[in-house]
């Protein structure tokens, strides 16, 4: 077996050498356009043609022509399949499918390496659990005995198991977990075939945004890291390290561009992927649900390890994977260096994507981000930022009186700091008029009990702010 693997490896290198002699090098990248948090490693590089900018053109690459191939997939598993078949060199996917990618390569007598994180959350935001809009369920504790669907062996499957464990439940007895792809689950939620659905980026936000589901659990509640990143065939990376670094520099450039103009690129992602710009901004924008973090924080390394362990528990993987060898940070470190960025500083930075803005109503610099709210007015290129939710709600009233329409109202969760879709959030209005936002009703109730104030839904909060004027 080992011998035949060696043979396969030799055959592979042989084909790669022939490619080099012909001076055409394939750069085949498998993307997941709808998984919008991978945009800086796929969709944006492709749409903005960033690869051309960074691919090496001197030294041993002097006379090389590049055969850049972009392939879009809907799951990490499908990308892995093509990588195993030798049709794709780079692939973007989450921790769970990424681990499978490593195992599958080893089984095939090859090796893949995880070269970067693209976007993630050390706490677990991005994954979430939703229920049909009309469901009375407000929190995960009410899901005992119910049917919950989840994309099998995805990063959200890991979250679901973790969340169930945190409730002290037995995943085999206390709930019925069925496997379901996101696109099917969207329909199943609308026809009430399932009681709840756990999913990854962007579906736990996209379904609520589309109006047929309500998020009742954010991944951060389970406090388990999740991320999407990029993998490459190890033999390819060894042969063409400069190309791997070039790809990562393109990703860094996409990241920088996004940071400069989040609204513009949220729209671009929407145009290409069909996932609404409002949802893209929710993830990628300042104070967003995830951080576009390209460093290998220990939490992300741990996420890779956890996914392997979880799958062993599910008896779906019999083989371990050496995380330290699977995760390789030398390429991303080199890309940071070439781009003049400080890898170590980024590695230590756990902040949300920063918001540097002035309050659209008062004109003052926003310094405290606990109660920030934002309004994206229709036909306006830029989002309006407000230091407080009540300030934003008041502004919303004025805007609407002027005949303007808000595309979306965002608020930040008072406790966890995650960005929320205002229309589905819960609010507590204190007696002094201060408004705080929460993902969960029970959270809002607790806050009101401890700090005083009244629990309101979005319309209630809007009416209350109007009434106080």
């Amino acid at each position: 077996m080992r011998f035949t693997s060696l043979l396969a490896g030799a055959a592979l290198s042989a084909t790669l050498i022939t490619i080099a002699e012909a001076e055409t090098i394939r750069v085949a990248i498998g993307t997941q356009d709808t998984t919008i948090n991978t945009a800086t490693g796929g969709l944006l590089i492709r749409e903005l043609k960033l690869l051309d900018k960074f691919l090496p053109k001197d030294g041993k690459y002097k006379d090389v022509t590049y055969d850049i191939q972009w392939r879009n997939f809907t799951t990490g598993a499908a990308i892995t399949n093509d990588q195993i078949a030798g049709k794709v060199d780079f692939g973007v996917m989450a921790d769970f499918p990424g681990s499978f990618n490593g195992v599958a390569h080893e089984k095939a007598g090859r090796k893949s390496i995880f070269i970067t994180v693209l976007s993630g959350s050390v706490k677990g935001s991005g994954n979430g659990i939703v229920v049909p809009s009309a469901s009375p369920v407000q929190s995960i504790s009410e899901l005992k005995g119910k049917t919950i669907s989840v994309p099998f062996a995805s990063t959200s499957h890991g979250l679901l198991l973790r969340a169930i464990k945190a409730q002290g439940w037995d995943p085999d007895k206390d709930v019925t977990i069925t496997a379901q792809a996101p696109e099917v689950a969207g329909t199943a939620l609308q026809s009430n075939q399932i009681d709840a659905h756990a999913d990854f980026v962007p579906f736990a936000e996209l379904f609520p945004w589309r109006g047929f589901a309500r998020k009742i659990y954010d991944g951060s509640q389970a406090n388990g890291p999740t991320f999407h990143g990029a993998l490459v065939d190890a033999a390819y990376a060894e042969k063409y390290p400069e190309i791997v670094v070039a790809y990562l520099r393109a990703a860094l450039e996409a990241d920088r561009l996004f940071q400069e103009e989040p609204e513009k690129y949220s729209e671009l992602i929407a145009k290409v992927s069909g996932v609404d710009a409002e949802v893209n901004y929710l993830f990628h924008g300042p104070l967003g649900l995830q951080t576009r973090d390209l460093t290998w924080k220990p939490e992300y390394r741990q996420a890779v390890g956890t996914s392997i362990d979880t799958l062993k528990l599910l008896k779906k993987a019999d083989q371990g994977l050496d995380v330290d060898k699977f995760v390789v940070d030398k390429y991303i470190r080199e890309a940071f260096k070439q781009a003049g960025l400080d890898y170590e500083a980024s590695l230590k930075n756990y902040d949300q994507l920063p918001l540097k803005a002035k309050d659209a109503a008062t004109g003052e610099e926003i310094k405290d981000f606990k109660r920030v709210a934002q309004i994206w007015v229709k036909d306006e290129p830029l989002i309006r930022h407000y230091a407080t939710a009540e300030g934003a709600l008041k502004a919303l009233k004025t805007l609407e009186a002027e005949g303007k329409t808000a595309r979306v109202f965002y608020a930040q969760d008072r406790e966890s700091g995650i960005k929320l879709l205002g229309a589905q959030a819960w609010f507590v209005r204190a007696d002094n008029g201060e408004v705080s936002a929460f993902l969960l009703k029970e959270q809002a109730e607790k806050w009101a009990q401890a700090n005083g104030g009244k629990v309101l839904d979005y319309n209630g909060a809007r009416a209350a702010v109007l009434a106080s004027n």
Partner: protein, 263 residues
């Protein structure tokens, strides 16, 4: 009779040898990572690995659940398709007007692949079990329908004319002439429909899964367990072939007047 029996055995041996040769060729191609350029066995697991996976599955407590879930789905979907397909087929085959009314919409639905039905199947049925059964139903319906129509249309008109002249009522003619005349074609349709129903099983069980051999196959793809995928494919193949054979036998028993196919 004796020589006939021997010939039968010889044919079975030949069939078994044919399968063994296929397996051997597959094993050789996989183990030696055969690459013909346009088709490659480099990453195809050999039968020995598949056998290991099959043993694992057989020993898993879930395996019975996988198989019974799938059998139930196909059985229900197929039964509904059989009843509806035969009834519609008889009606369309017997009456030109009913044919004009019923056939056009059915012909429109016929080319739609099962996988395209998934979203609607999920929307239309209150349970995912219902959606899955619908997919196996839609897979089985059209071969049964078309074969029944074909069978009914090809009943010798002279037989019907004779029955009429002997004073047979419409119902009696249907029961005594048309149905027996069309029965061989109907059973062929049922056997094909059984096959196509299994054909659609993976599609059906992609909808939502916990148990089911199609689901097991799909799940194995998600986690790149290639030997398990082939086990799933093989189980579907065997169950599908088995149930089609059963139907053919049943057909032979029920249509003794139909000359035995001696091929």
């Amino acid at each position: 009779m004796q020589s006939n029996h021997d010939a039968g055995w010889r044919r079975w041996i030949l069939r078994a040898v044919s399968i063994a040769v296929c397996l051997l060729a597959w094993q050789t191609a996989s183990v030696h990572h055969l690459n013909l350029g346009f088709v490659s066995f480099v990453n195809v697991p050999p039968p020995t690995e598949v056998l290991e996976a099959a043993v694992d599955l057989a020993q898993s407590p879930k395996s019975l659940n996988h198989i019974t879930s799938s059998l139930r789905r196909v059985a229900i979907g197929f039964t509904i398709a059989a009843v509806l397909g035969v009834l519609l087929g008889l009606a369309i085959g017997r009456s030109r007007r009913l044919g004009d009314i019923l056939l056009p919409p059915l012909e429109l639905l016929r080319p739609i692949p099962a996988v395209a039905w998934i979203p609607l199947a999920v929307l239309m049925f209150p349970s995912s079990e219902g959606s899955m059964i619908y997919i196996t139903f839609i897979g089985a319906l059209f071969p049964i329908l078309l074969s029944t129509i074909h069978g009914v249309e090809h009943v010798d008109p002279r037989l019907i004319a004779s029955a009429k002249s002997l004073g047979g009522t419409r119902f009696a003619i249907l029961r005594e002439v048309t149905l027996p005349g069309a029965a061989p074609a109907i059973f062929t349709g049922l056997a094909i429909g059984m096959g196509t129903s299994w054909f659609c099983l993976v599609t059906a069980e992609m909808i939502s899964g916990q148990f089911g051999i199609g689901y097991h196959t799909w799940e194995s793809y998600v986690i790149q367990r290639y030997p398990d995928i082939i086990v799933g494919m093989a189980v579907i193949g065997i169950l599908g072939m088995g149930s089609s054979l059963l139907l053919r036998q049943l057909g032979r028993l029920l249509t003794p007047w139909h000359s035995e196919d001696t091929r």
